[in-house]
C-alpha cells in the first residue's frame, strides 16, 4: 500500500448526495441559481434548505444574473492547500445584491480592481467517484 491522502475537497453535488443538486445541475449548464423561500419569499445566498427568517424548508429555484462586480479581492501567492496553485485570486463578487465568495479565473492580478465587472465562469473540478461532473461557481473578468 502506498501513502495516500484521504482527501476530496469538493462537494458531492449529485441528487444522491445533496438536496441542493439543482444548483449544480444548472451551474453545469452555465447559469447561476439560488433558493427562494416558498414560505416568505426570501432569496438566499448561498442556496439553503432551511429559511432562518420564517422556518420553512421548501424553496423554489431562481436564476441570478451571470454578471457581477468585484467587491473585494486578495491574491494568494503561496501557502495554498494541496491540489491548489498560486497565484490564486479570491474574491467577493456582488451579484444581484448578494455577496458571493468565489475565485476569479483568467485574471491578471495587476489589472484587477474593486468595482470591475466579472462574468460567471463555471469551473469544472474533479469528477465524483461515480464519474459525475462537478462544477464550482467561479467568475472571470468581463
Amino acid at each position: 500500500m502506498t501513502y495516500f491522502r484521504a482527501t476530496d475537497p469538493f462537494p458531492l453535488e449529485s441528487a444522491d448526495h445533496t438536496k441542493l443538486h439543482e444548483f449544480y445541475a444548472r451551474l453545469g449548464q452555465g447559469t447561476l441559481a439560488t433558493t427562494k423561500c416558498a414560505g416568505c419569499g426570501t432569496a438566499a445566498w448561498p442556496p439553503r434548505g432551511f429559511c432562518p427568517e420564517c422556518g420553512a424548508d421548501t424553496f423554489d429555484w431562481v436564476e441570478l444574473s451571470a454578471e457581477g462586480t468585484v467587491h473585494a479581492f486578495t491574491v494568494q501567492e503561496t501557502g495554498l492547500p494541496a491540489g491548489f496553485e498560486g497565484p490564486r485570486v479570491f474574491a467577493i463578487v456582488k451579484v444581484d445584491g448578494h455577496r458571493v465568495f468565489s475565485i476569479l479565473v483568467d485574471a491578471d492580478p495587476v489589472k484587477l480592481a474593486v468595482g470591475q465587472k466579472v462574468r460567471l465562469a463555471p469551473l469544472r473540478v474533479a469528477d465524483d467517484p461515480k464519474g459525475n461532473a462537478r462544477w464550482l461557481p467561479a467568475f472571470r473578468p468581463a
Binding site: T74, L80, P81, F90
Partner: protein, 389 residues
Amino acid sequence: MRKVALVGAGVSKFGVRKATYRDLIWEAGKACFDSVPGVKPKDVEGLVVGSVMPERTAFQSHISSLAAEALGIRPSALSARTEHMCASGTVGIRYAYAFIAAGLADLVMVLGVEKLNQPTGDEAILNMGTGVDREWEAAFGLTAPPCFALAAQRHMAEYGTTEEQLALVGVKNHTHAAKNPNAHFNKGATLDQVLCSRMISTPLRLFMCSPITDGAAAVILAGEERARALTDKPVWIRGTGQALDGFQLTSLHEDYAHWPAMKRAAQAAYKMAGIGPHDVDLAEVHDCFAIAELIAYEELGFCHKGEAGPFVAEGRSDYGGDIVVNPRGGLIGCGHPLGATGVAQAAEVFVQLRGEAGARQVDDAAIGLTHNNSGMGEHVVMLYGREAR
C-alpha cells in the same frame, strides 16, 4: 455560582515536532502536574480536551478518553472534547469553569492538543480548509489567510493603517517569542525581515502570519476551597464572554475592518468581571494574522476604533506601554496548534499573575485577558485576576 481558579498550568514545546499526538499530551500533562505538586492524575475528576482535527492529522477520534488514559486520569464527573476551530481550547476552559462553578465537579483538567504537521506541507494546509465552509469556500482552495487579508485591506483603506504597522505586530511578537523557550520561533525578527518576507495573501506576508505548529498545553481548574488548599497563588477566572456573528465569509458583518462579535464577547466578559479594558495588565490575543491583533486592540477597547496602527507603532502594546499584548509571543511567534492555543494563553496568564514569568514578566500583573477568534465573526474572551474579586 462558586468561584473557580486555575491552580496549575503547563505547556509542551511548540514547533514542527518529532512527536506523536500522544507524545504531545504527555509533555503538556507532565508540565501541568509538575506545576501543582498537590495534584496527582488520580485526583482529577474531569478532563476536557480541546482538539480540532485529529481525525485528519492523526487518524484518531475518541480523544478525551485517549488523553485521560495517557495521563492516568479516571474522570468521575466530566469527560468531553471541545471543537470550535481556533478557539477550541478556551471553549474547553469555559466548559470546565461552568461545571465547577455549578458544583458538578471540583477539579478538572483542560488540555489542548494538535499535531498539525504532516509528512507533506501542502496536506497540512489542505487540512486547514476544514475550518471554513467546505461546499462554498474550501472547495475553491480557501483557508484562513485570504479571509484576514481582506480585513487588512479594509482596515488600511478605512483608517490608513500601513504595511509597516502590520509588520510591527510581527516584530513585537517574534521579539517576545525569543524569550519563550516553548515558542515555535526563538530568533526574533527585524522590521526589514518582516517586510521582505514572502507574500502569502496580499497584503499579508509570512512573518505577519502564524505558522503550522504542533503542540499541547494543559491547565487545572478547581473550586474555591480546593484551589486555596492546593496553592497560595490561585489565578481566578473573573469573567468570560462569547459571541458569534456568522460562519461564512459572506454572512459576516460586511465591513471586515469591524468585528462586532468581538466587542460583544469582550463587553460580556468585562461586565461579569466588573472591570474595563484599562484595568487589564496583559492580554494574550489571537494574532493568527497581524491584522487580527490590530483589530483586537480596538474591539477589546485598548484604543479607539481606527487607532490600532499608531497604537502598536508607538509601543503602547509592548513592555513599558499601556498594556503588554502577547508577552508569550502570540500565535505569530509561538505558533498556532489550534486546540492548544487557548490553553497555552491561559497558562501564560497563570505564570504572569503569579509573578513566575521570568524574562517575560509584566510588572505587577494583576489582571490578564485571553482572546481567541475562530474567524472574523466568532470570538471568545476570558478575564483572569490575581484576586478573587
